[in-house]
Subunit: 418 residues, 2 copies
């Protein structure tokens, strides 16, 4: 197989499908999404057979237990792919929404209308459920999708995408609305990243290495999610009980996710009061505390934090804690060390809260709430493709609306420019 | 001078300024914009002295008359830079607009709010007025700007940016809100395009070569405007008088701009009726007609159009004309050959119009109006930075709103995730 020609064909088919998809009624897309869910359940034994091929190969290759766990498609996980597709079917269709309408003195009427982006390329790693989740969101938002999964999940991804295509065929939508790159050759990724004529946006999902590679090499616009180095700042004006609850929740409730807190800042005026009960509670939950020098003076059992610690997304029960002199120092620190994902202040002081919300340059900024709320579901957007740490096009949770563009429809009556 | 360090310093200063700028009140930004206008008028003799240096160097270098004309800053042009800045001051400030607000069952209140993008890099060619125009739009939208102008306009750009900085200083805003790259060394551009840590978006303004280079090499998201290969399709259901008026206006009213028509499609059913009066009128205005073979059968004096013609933005009194069999053929042709800028249909048939608006994948699609209306001013957006042919973030005219991003401000009361 000539990889370049193969990828180019896939791209052309995707563009063609995208033009048909852009004009589908919500009901027709939803019918397909439900047919996809039905077929996934009906074929769950076939999916498991293919999944076992990947698991066996993974074991032979010596993949870690965590990797193998991510790879495995249990009955529950297959069920939840189907449920996910049905939930996407129930969401409001963003396409066709009128964003603005005006009549101009020249005589033209301008309607700004939401349209699909076109063709979305998704490059992802191990979890095979992404195949169904991402395809569902793309279909609902009227976009054709090209899926490039990790080689370790090749058989699982392939069978899932074939099932999705069968559902498209059955319900009369273009099969090429969902295409999976049927080769593990790495050159395929390079060709995708240079297919700017056909692919409108690339969304990488996976580890930082993958995202960095895609962001560096892509000629196509990328919507990406780097780390979640999230901060909580317990300010001078904080209510201590709320501060402890929020900091504890942000670190401990689910430490392995991007909106969990990694760095905690505490105002020097309240440090001595809040540290003992807070650290006690955190340590009881198994949190290792790394602190700045000021922290170590108050709590000598903390480990000294290095410059590296402030810049690390541990995704684990490790917390770096720093004492800061005032609000401005906290803001400067967060704007420097945050990955611009989610950062919070705890304070009862209205000015402190408002100034923090204004000054922190992150996708989501909080007053008196846990950073754990940054999530499409919690934000009422339904399913999401991830959390964007970019500032252009999509910032924060990427749901259906963020997978759309717009166009201007202009109506005249023989109207010409003077 | 070490170019890399120099560019890196400029970038750091810009990011610092952008954080201060993001929190300025509309009145303070407007006061600065008006001070910029005043100072440009007060210093107009100094501007002309510096401009003459560029003109003299340009003449020695053998620049074309058209290039030298674009370079020249006459009294009228200096006046219009000042007027432009005052007009931007009068526009509505987009920053701080509440885009969405909701209370969630969890107890959090989410406000989606419009914020500046941050740091904008503008890479542009000859016209020195871009320095003031672009800086004005960036300042109003709360963004710091790094300007990199063409070497032939170096002295003109430098004096204008120094005047703008003097106005910033005078009114108490950070001078580094506007920075001009004070070297003509081409390596500076490469460093800018890789400064993804500091610059949030790059906007190239100039010829296709420049834009291609920037789009290919930039690691930073780019908002760009490729060609304007705009189409008009005179459909079966067209009113002939309207069709002639619209096609004539789209081609002749100002042929050198991006929203002028380059390709005209005519439905075969009405071709014999409309061609003679239309071609007569176009030729009287000096338009050279290049046609497909079907056209040549009706009008043997037309020149045969090549594949190249359909893909060329002439920006001149040259028009490529093709007969198509039906609406679908027209749509397919336009989606293939259009630069996705502006395309129009002329028809009285409601279905034809609606289907065309739906199916054409361009930033602006027209029914019964001239493509010449694609323009920030005509769209009621005030001044514009250009017309985006991208689909992500900004599509069509790029005005103040398109120079912004958003963030989510979330308020709780000790709220944690369950």
């Amino acid at each position: 197989m000539n990889i370049e020609n193969y990828v180019s064909d896939v791209c052309k088919h995707a563009q063609k499908a995208s033009r048909i998809l852009a004009n589908q009624r919500p009901d027709d897309k939803n019918k397909t999404l439900r047919a996809m869910a039905d077929l996934i359940l009906a074929e769950h034994e076939t999916i498991k057979v293919e999944n076992i091929k990947d698991l066996d190969a993974g074991k032979k290759k010596g993949l870690s237990k965590a990797m193998l766990d991510r790879l495995e498609l249990t009955d529950t996980r297959i069920q939840s792919m189907a449920t996910g597709l049905r939930e996407v079917a129930d969401l409001i269709d963003p396409v066709g929404e009128i964003l603005d309408k005006k009549n101009r003195p020249s005589g033209i009427e301008i309607t700004k209308i939401r349209v699909p982006i076109g063709v979305i390329g998704i490059i992802y790693e191990s979890r095979p459920n992404v195949t169904a989740d991402a395809a569902g969101l793309c279909l609902k938002s009227g976009n054709a999708v090209i899926l490039r999964g990790g080689s370790e999940a090749f058989h699982s991804n392939l069978i899932i995408s074939n099932i999705l295509r069968a559902a498209l065929k059955k319900t009369g939508l273009p099969e090429d609305s969902v295409q999976f790159i049927e080769t593990t050759n790495r050159k395929a990724v390079d060709h995708l990243l240079h297919a700017e004529e056909y692919i409108d946006v690339i969304i990488p999902r996976g580890g930082k290495g993958l995202i960095k590679k895609v962001a560096t090499e892509s000629r196509i616009p990328v919507i990406k999610h780097y780390d979640g180095i999230c901060h909580t700042y317990i300010a001078k004006g904080a209510d201590l009980d709320k501060a402890i609850a929020i900091a504890f929740n942000a670190k401990v409730q689910r430490p392995g996710v991007c909106n969990a807190m990694e760095n905690l800042l505490i105002d020097k005026e309240i440090a001595e009061k809040i540290l003992p009960p807070l650290f006690l509670k955190l340590r009881k939950a198994g949190v290792e505390i790394r602190g700045c020098e000021e922290i170590l003076k108050i709590d000598p059992s903390a480990i000294q934090a290095t410059e590296e610690d402030w810049r690390t997304e541990y995704l684990d029960l490790i917390l770096s804690v720093k004492i800061v002199g005032n609000l401005e120092e906290a803001i400067d620190f967060i704007n420097e060390y945050s990955s611009h994902h989610s950062d919070a202040i705890v304070t009862e002081d209205h000015y402190e809260g408002a100034h923090f919300l204004q000054s922190i340059d992150s996708a989501t900024v909080y007053v008196n709430a846990s950073t754990r709320f940054t999530d499409g579901g919690e934000f009422g957007m339904g399913a999401e493709m991830g959390i964007s740490t970019d500032k252009l096009h999509a910032r924060g949770p990427v749901g259906l609306v963020e997978l759309t563009s717009y166009k201007y429809m202009v109506r005249g009556n023989g109207t010409v420019r003077k």
